[in-house]
């Protein structure tokens, strides 16, 4: 209960700021619309009410986004191309496949880097460089290149999601595998443990807390990758495609609804990983 009050306060404050910003940003637009319609007798209250309920506002008000979300999530058939559930599932699929590939690649790279020191010096600069290229510039290239090899559909988007998600996993797991202190490593030496044994019995279990932290960042990054990929190739649908469609037609309410849906999806993924982490920790403590 203690965490509810501060959280509610923050949410209410954010919504308040949002309403204020919406009113301020839309007011001029609404005034122009009144002027175009020849209305001059409106009160401030009329202006405020109209500003918060425009069809294509600069910034939609929270209740507009909420009702749009409700309409597109619950009141629309999930098979409809307008449903956010339909598009959310497309994004989720790409994200999960990309995340699986990315985290496997990330862990694999971390294992290699920790086992062979020279690999860190030769590979780490490339791994870092790979993330300095803006993904929005790279995504269309990946789609085009993979298309040459007849790789289409979910795959190119999963690849882009993997491209973004492997990096935090690699960095986090390298740190995790190196987290044992010198004493714990010396202990393994006194047993003449092989490198593989030291890895399995010390480095791997010691990396568990880093594993779940890396997974959380990796999953969020995979979702960003999937959405960016969908913007690149919007005919297949997905939350990114809805963002793009919304911006084509100035449907700001739709953009914000898709945006919040993507945020909720990301939060759910990160939450699920956090839950798995706590479950593992509890099992270790109780077994």
């Amino acid at each position: 209960m203690k965490s509810v009050l501060p959280l509610t306060t923050v949410v209410l404050a954010l919504i308040g700021v949002w309403y204020l910003a919406a009113a301020l940003m839309n007011a001029q637009l609404q005034r122009d619309q009144f002027a175009n319609a020849g209305r001059t007798d409106y009160s401030t209250q009329d202006l405020l009410g109209a500003s918060l309920n425009m069809e294509r506002p600069k910034l939609p008000a929270p209740h507009q986004v909420a009702s749009e979300l409700y309409k597109l999530v619950f009141a629309t058939s999930p098979t409809s191309k307008r449903s956010l559930v339909y598009h959310g599932l497309i994004t989720l699929e790409e994200t999960l496949i990309g995340f699986a590939i990315g985290s496997a690649l990330g862990i694999g790279l971390a294992v290699l880097i920790v086992s062979m020191r020279w690999l860190e010096r030769s590979m780490m600069p490339w791994i870092v460089a790979s993330q300095t290229v803006p993904i929005i510039a790279l995504a269309p290239m990946i789609v085009v290149i993979l298309n040459q090899f007849n790789v289409t559909g979910v795959a190119p988007k999963a690849v882009i999601a993997a491209y973004l998600s492997f990096f935090p996993v690699t960095v986090g797991m390298v740190k995790g595998f190196r987290s044992p202190d010198p004493l714990q490593l010396d202990l393994m030496r006194t047993y003449s443990a092989t490198r593989a044994q030291t890895f399995m019995k010390l480095r791997a279990p010691a990396s568990a807390p880093f594993f779940f932290a890396s997974m959380k960042i990796g999953a969020a990054a995979a979702l960003v990758g999937a959405v960016v990929a969908e913007v690149t190739k919007s005919e297949d649908g997905g939350l990114g495609a809805r963002l793009l469609a919304g911006s084509y037609y100035g449907q700001t309410v739709q953009i914000w609804a898709a945006l919040l849906a993507a945020a909720a999806l990301s939060a759910a993924l990160v939450g699920a990983i956090g839950f798995a982490g706590r479950l593992t920790q509890r099992r270790v403590a109780l077994s």
Binding site: L183, D186, L187, R189, T190, Y191, S192, K201, P205, A208
Partner: protein, 278 residues
């Protein structure tokens, strides 16, 4: 005859075991660390023999190289010069043959393993079967009075209990040699007394050879058959003092004149070896 007087020997005519029955033989050992501030002479021309079944304590101020000496015997450091034989082998061969158990200053238990599984760790690595592991873990827990605590996790145990678990872990694969680096340094006096008695009993029962690094004079005199007094800069052996109390000694020998005489000699050796003239 006064025990202290009998034990008082010049460093050059120390009573040492012959090379044949020495478990550990160290000859002209030197070790230099190359640090950012220039080379540091951690050990200089150290020679020592330890016979099977002895309990040898190393005492000296910080920086006298006692921990480094122990780590060199364990093949955790490489000597710059000199020779070490452990059971007639080089330290590397001895380590490969799992000739020793090492107890560190901190328990170094793995927090994700229960106490029993921590004790089983070396057994898993050395390929013991499951039944054999369980039997040895039960025996080890009993040896250090931790029966019933096998399922607990390290954080659920007191510091003294953790260190006892780490001793059980070092003994689980039954090495002849036990290397202990200030195992009780972080514990309070009362717990330390108790663990000293338990360690002595354990040494008596198992007949292991023990090398024991300590900061405490009473601890060294109470536990040892030989006390090696070391002095710093460069780390070297200043004196080796024999200490012939019966193997089943009790804590109250610490009040006897013999005990106090040896403790005095250790203290004097530490003071003389610590002079900064020049």
């Amino acid at each position: 005859m006064d025990v202290a007087a009998a034990a008082r020997l010049k460093p050059d005519d120390r009573r040492m075991p012959s090379a044949a029955d020495a478990t550990i033989e160290i000859n002209g050992l030197s070790l230099r660390f190359d640090t950012a501030d220039g080379p540091v002479q951690a050990l200089s021309d150290v020679s020592l023999r330890v016979a099977r079944g002895e309990f040898v304590s190393f005492i000296g101020p910080s920086g006298c190289g006692k921990t480094t000496l122990l780590r060199t015997v364990a093949d955790l450091e490489n000597p710059t010069e000199g020779l070490i034989r452990v059971n007639g082998m080089s330290p590397r061969e001895a380590r490969a043959k799992r000739a020793y158990g090492y107890v560190f200053q901190a328990p170094a238990l793995y927090p994700w393993r229960s106490v029993a599984r921590n004790i089983a760790l070396p057994l898993e690595i050395m390929g013991f079967g499951k039944a054999e592991r369980e039997a040895r873990v039960a025996k080890g827990l009993e040896l250090v009075n931790l029966s019933g605590f096998g399922k607990k996790y390290p954080w659920q145990l007191s510091g003294g209990m953790q260190q006892r678990a780490s001793i059980a872990r070092a003994l689980s694969f039954d090495p002849d040699l036990l290397l202990m680096d200030e195992p009780f340094g972080a514990l309070d006096e009362i717990v330390r007394d108790m663990l000293n008695q338990q360690l002595l009993r354990l040494w008596d029962v198992t007949g292991k050879t023990v090398l024991f690094v300590t900061h405490s004079i009473p601890e060294a005199v109470f536990l040892s058959t030989h006390i090696v007094v070391m002095s710093p800069r460069p780390g070297r052996i200043y004196d080796v003092i024999e200490c012939n109390f019966p193997r089943d000694r009790a804590l109250d020998i610490r009040e006897t004149p013999e005990f106090l005489a040896i403790a005095n000699r250790v203290r004097q050796g530490l003071r003389e070896g610590h002079s900064y003239d020049g």
